[in-house]
Symmetry: C2
């Protein structure tokens, strides 16, 4: 029985895994977190493309039927280039989030926050404009958010004041919808919501990504007919660190995380 | 004419290069920053050793006569294991800093701050105790300092309150000397000094490392006899980002940073 392959630069992609397990409980999932080279958000387009190809080749060796790029930076930089390289369908996290945001926004002012790489790539802007040419898009890179989440700094004065400073341009522009364009950011949702106000809709693409995966499995007749999926987790470094953080993202602890060299 | 090889996970090692240029103006320097895999501070011992060996092999191909590991995490994890692997002498940043700290401390209470990896390795503690078994060592990992420096957050309320929180155990223990055990930290010297008080001595190992290099070149008769050294900078990713940050570390801008694959 073939699996759904998921990769991320590290641990953030587990937010997508959580949704896949919820929506597709009978599927097998193989996850790869590139913890030896994490983070991707500060790396160049060229390097992120190279890493993404290496990760996909690793997943293909694990006999996957579909690949989910659960990393916004890799989806932004690599997906436009490599999506037709491989036979297996490849789903990124950008398009599902964009669709949801354009649907949710009333005033057509949409905010996007992400890593430096994601924001620099302008992929979110391009895709939003394709879907709604009249939408106004305001972006902000938030490079301290990933370290905050990985250090467990999810609230408090320090975090609040950094969030305020990063989100000021979005607040000033009066956006009514904000895409959390990094799989780490949902963990900062409470403080982001507090800063933006309760009426601003925050889009966390994990749910939409899982819907998209479901749709493709249906249309290509790839559903697993068995009962009860099996999940396997690989990392390129620090399985203990990954297991520890996994609880925060997945809501339950992880055992048997395997360390591999993907290159 | 053979060069001095210097490597770091990224840009921090330029604080060492600055001192090498000042103290050894006639030497050629080849620098390698592993910006495709930065940071090292959150990676495992095993992975940091693997990366360090790859970086040393790259430098050896550039015809170096001595290698300087200008990264505290690599010096802590890799140096004890690999220092006798290669023919060229290899200098880390730990021992010179330790020597200076033990010399400077009056009350024999010494603080050490660094990345998670550096602190976890306990290399600083071991070396301090070897030199002065009576010294009391208090350590603290400061995982947000590197992102702060790389984002240019060097002062202000947010930085001040994080510095206060990280340094509390050192302050409580009444240390009179603190080793800045990460090549990024000298850029936060003003705020660290403000928090610890003006009487606490901050040890920035770059100067001592350059002295050590000088001593070894002298003892092994390896000085460059020519006039005016040449400096070459290689990175594994993002030469523009590296050039931009270099100004902050080196005090002058860098041109002609070359991108290479070191593996």
């Amino acid at each position: 029985m073939k699996s759904i392959g998921v990769f991320d630069s590290g641990v953030g992609g587990l937010t997508v895994v959580k949704e896949l397990i919820r929506q597709l409980p009978n599927e097998n999932i193989v996850y790869f977190g590139d913890t030896a080279r994490v983070p991707y958000g500060i790396k160049s387009r060229e390097t992120v493309i190279r890493f993404s190809i290496e990760n996909i080749l690793f997943l293909l060796k694990q006999d996957v039927k579909l690949i989910c790029v659960a990393c916004n930076t890799a989806s932004s930089f690599a997906l436009p280039v490599i999506k037709n390289y491989f036979r297996a369908p490849i789903i990124g996290v950008i398009t599902p989030g964009v669709r949801e945001a354009v649907y949710a926004s009333q005033n057509k002012r949409i905010g996007v926050i992400g890593t430096k790489g994601t924001i620099k790539s302008r992929t979110y802007e391009t895709e939003i404009k394709q879907l709604d040419p009249k939408a106004k898009v305001v972006t902000a890179s938030c490079p301290l958010f990933v370290p905050f989440v990985e250090e467990g700094w999810l609230s408090g004065e320090v975090v609040l004041s950094v969030v305020k400073s990063y989100l000021k341009p979005l607040k000033d522009a009066g956006v009514d919808t904000v895409i959390l364009g990094c799989t780490h950011y949902p963990l900062l949702k409470p403080v982001i919501q507090q800063v933006l106000g309760k009426d601003v809709v925050l889009i966390d693409s994990a749910k939409q990504v899982a819907c998209e995966v479901k749709k493709i499995l249906a249309s290509e007749d790839l559903f697993n007919r068995g009962k009860g999926g099996k999940n396997t987790f690989y990392v390129s470094d620090n399985p203990e660190w990954f297991s520890g953080l996994a609880q925060r993202f997945l809501g339950s602890p992880l055992r048997n995380v395997k360390k591999v060299n993907n290159v």
